[in-house]
Structures are given as structure tokens and as C-alpha cells.
């Protein structure tokens, strides 16, 4: 077994330095899809999370439970819903988005946004009273108060984003379903890993997994440096 793991380390290394066009294509698409879905989800999730977390209103408890529930939305279910919408028979069928990267982004946004929202809501809970009292006392407008609160809670918020990123980059059920795992078109790291696993090519699968993890590590490292900077 350890031989197998060593072997896949070697394979991963060879894959990367061989400048295999396919693997770079897959990495490229993975990064594009993840970036797009994280970008959109970050906006939706942080905005709604900070907003809901810092406000009290009727039905907040229910809403919180719903959002927390959606943190556990099975990707396949999200994928199915998107599939039904984007399918030719579906209401958005005419957009011809099924089996395109765009569809994958949509599905991922549905999966990741609640995660970022839910975690952001909890993140601002510890500081929002103090920040809002002070901002209000200085006559600072709503939007700016909102931004200041996000800034003051940036550590847990960035962590929420990273959790969202982690889900986006490791998720496979939804992107498989609405992307179709089409070679040279919608194949990303995770679907490639599943493909290799299905073939019993565990070494290849591990190698791809390792590459993905190294990529993630790089991104995390950059984010952390950036976070320390501000």
C-alpha cells in the first residue's frame, strides 16, 4: 500500500513536469469554475450572512435553520435541481447551458452559498453589537457599518470562505451531473478523480488528488498571507 502511495506521488510529479496538456487543461478549468463559483458565492454568502447575522427580525430562527440545513444540501440534489432547470424541457432550457462550465458554476453556487452564509452569520455574532453601537453612535451609514463589521470579523469570514472553497474544489456530485464530465470541456479535477477511481486506476486518482491538494495549499497560503497583510 505504501508502495502504491509512493507510486502515486511519483505519478503526480511526472504528470506535472511532463507538461501533459490534458492535465493542465483540467487544472485550468477547475480553477476557473472554482474561482467563478467562489466569487459569486462569496458575494451572496458574505452579504447575506453578515446582514442576517447582525439583524434581528421575525422568522430569523426559521431562516437560520433553513440556511444551516442547506449547508448539508447533497450536491447531487443541487445538481438535479439545476439539471431540471437547464434541461431542454426545463424553464431555462433555451439557454443551452447544460453540460457547460456555466452550469457547473451555477450548481456550485447553490451548494456553497448557504455554507458561506451560515458560517458568516455565526462569525459576526460575537462582534456585531459592539461594532453597530459604535458605528451608529458616529452616524455611519448602513453600508459602511456593514463593511466595517465584515472587516472586524475578517478572520472567521475568511475561514468561512476557505470552507466554501474547500467544498467547491472537492465537490463532485453536482458538477458531474450538470457538467457531464466531458473531456476537454467540462472535466475538472474531481470528476477526473472519480473517473480514474471507477476504472480502478487508484494510482492516477491519488496523483490527481495530490495535485489538487497542492493547488489548494498554494491558494490557502496566499489567502493567509493576504489576510495577515490587512
Amino acid at each position: 500500500m505504501f508502495a502504491e502511495i509512493l507510486q502515486s506521488l511519483r505519478d503526480a510529479f511526472i504528470l506535472i513536469i511532463s507538461f501533459n496538456k490534458d492535465i493542465y487543461e483540467i487544472i485550468g478549468l477547475t480553477l476557473c469554475v472554482t474561482a467563478a463559483s467562489i466569487g459569486i458565492s462569496a458575494f451572496i454568502g458574505l452579504a447575506s450572512g453578515v446582514f442576517i447575522g447582525s439583524r434581528s427580525f421575525r422568522g430569523k430562527k426559521l431562516l437560520t435553520s433553513v440556511i444551516n440545513t442547506l449547508m448539508g444540501l447533497p450536491p447531487v440534489v443541487a445538481g438535479l435541481v439545476v439539471y431540471l432547470f437547464l434541461s431542454r424541457k426545463g424553464p431555462l432550457g433555451s439557454l443551452r447551458l447544460l453540460f457547460t462550465p456555466m452550469a457547473m458554476v451555477i450548481a456550485q453556487v447553490i451548494i456553497i452559498s448557504p455554507i458561506i452564509t451560515g458560517l458568516s452569520m455565526a462569525a459576526v455574532k460575537l462582534r456585531h453589537e459592539a461594532v453597530e453601537e459604535t458605528c451608529r453612535g458616529l452616524g455611519i451609514g448602513r453600508l459602511k457599518t456593514f463593511l466595517m463589521l465584515a472587516f472586524e470579523c475578517r478572520y472567521p469570514l475568511v475561514s468561512a470562505l476557505l470552507a466554501g472553497y474547500g467544498r467547491a474544489v472537492s465537490e463532485v456530485g453536482a458538477v458531474m451531473l450538470v457538467g457531464g464530465n466531458i473531456e476537454h470541456s467540462t472535466r475538472v479535477m474531481t470528476t477526473a478523480i472519480v473517473l480514474e477511481t471507477g476504472k480502478g486506476e487508484y494510482g492516477n486518482a491519488m496523483a490527481l488528488g495530490l495535485i489538487l491538494l497542492v493547488l489548494s495549499f498554494g491558494i490557502n497560503w496566499i489567502v493567509q498571507r493576504f489576510q495577515e497583510g490587512i
Binding site: E25, H184, G200
Partner: protein, 279 residues
Amino acid sequence: GNSANNTGTNPTTKPTTNPAPSAAENSSGSKLTVATTTSVRDSGLMAYLQPEFEKDTGIKLNIVAQGSGQAIRTGEDGNADVLLVHDKAAEEKFVSSGNGLKRIEVMYNYFVIVGPRNDPAGIKASGTLDAAKAFKMISDKKAPFISRGDKSGTNTKELNIWTSANITPSGDWYVSAGKGMGDVLTMASEKQAYTLTDKATYLSMKDKLDLQIVLENAQDLKNQYTIIAVNPANHKGINSEGAQKFIDWMTSEKGLKMIGEYGRDKYGENLFTVNFSGK
């Protein structure tokens, strides 16, 4: 790397939204979405045919490999233009309900029964050429058997054999796994169990498996693959022209020859036998 066996196509790495798709799809140089079963992809056949097809026709293939049921569903929903599947009953329903145009048989191979090298049910030793008999031996011995249990073409075939053997498999020895072919083979190897598999997938994974073929070339194990064009009348924007070209190319002399030869250099035998009998 396995993902390297395909070159010369135009990679689309950027998210594209395909503006004005129907216009593009109806001319040549368009995109054709083929839904196939995973076994076709896993055998490597599609990756082998794709570059030649694209070169000859100028049509870009989008191959979506799914479970048989899901592939047919993708066709029903109009999300694929043409299907390449192997589940006769479901195919006939698909065509008779007006979702598909016509079943076109192109090739077949044989399912095989694989099992542990020590063959505890003694199938190999018995020399039988009847799958139902082999299944009976397995159930008599209560030797572990793994079923795909996913209503795929392979699974349907397996269930039919049980029926023809007059056995309702149940008990600890009969494991319904609900997974794809490759996974089930790995599982059978891991659990030292019997299973029914298409030969192509087995051969492509043979080296990693601690299994052997215990029964092959049984007449009741024939595995027919069919191409069906999706009925363009049911959905807007089906690339029926491309689907026809795909059918034409697959059943052309060149296509059939390529299919018939596939696997010979790698496994020393062909994985599929063509049996196209004219449209």
C-alpha cells in the same frame, strides 16, 4: 496518465456560454452530444473513435458517460442528440414512446462471469457454457456474488439470467452494490466474489484484479450495443443532422472496421464484434 490518450481536439478550458447555440449546432463544425453508458467509455472505445470522427466530419463530440438509465433519461430530456447504450428493454421503450427514432444495432460483445481464482463454485471445472447454470452453481454454493444493483444494462442482464435460472437471489452471499462496473470489479476482487461484467471493462482492469474469467462466450451473455438518435420532434435544437452523421460514420466501413479492431493491439483480442445489419 490515462487522460492522455486523446489529442488533436480543440480544448475548451474557459467557461463558455455558447451564444446562439441552435444556429451553430445545425451546421457542420457544430457540437454533438452523445450520451453513452460508462462501459463504453471505460473500455476506451469512445476515446479511440472520437478524434477520427471529429477529423472526418468536423463535428465536435461531447461525450457524456452515464449509467444506462441516466443516459436514456438524458436522451428523453433532449439533453443529448444521440445515445450509445446496451439495455434492450429500455431502448425499445425509449423508441416506442417516441423519444428515439430507431434502434440501430452496431456491435456486441459478451458479458463474462468472473470470480476468484480458486473458483469455489466450480464453474470453470464444470465446463458449462450456460450462464444460468453457472448462476445456479453459485447460488447452490452460496458463493459470494456481487450485483451492480443499479438497473444498468449489465444489471438488467444479470437479473434476466437469475430469472431464467428460476432463482431469486437473496442472502448474505448476494451483495447488491449499487455501483459502476469498475467499482464492482474492484469490490469483487476485494471480497473474492463472483460478478457479471462486460468483457471490455474486465480486460481493461485485469491487471489490478485478483480475479479470473470463469465463463465466457455463453450464448445467453451476448451484450448488444445500439445507437439511437433522439427524436428531434420532441425538443427544440436537437442536432439531428449531426446525429445522423454520427450514425453514418459509426456504421461506415471505416467506423465498423475501427470498432472491430479495437483492443487487438492492447489485449490481443478485439473487444467488440460489429453486427451492423443495415439501417
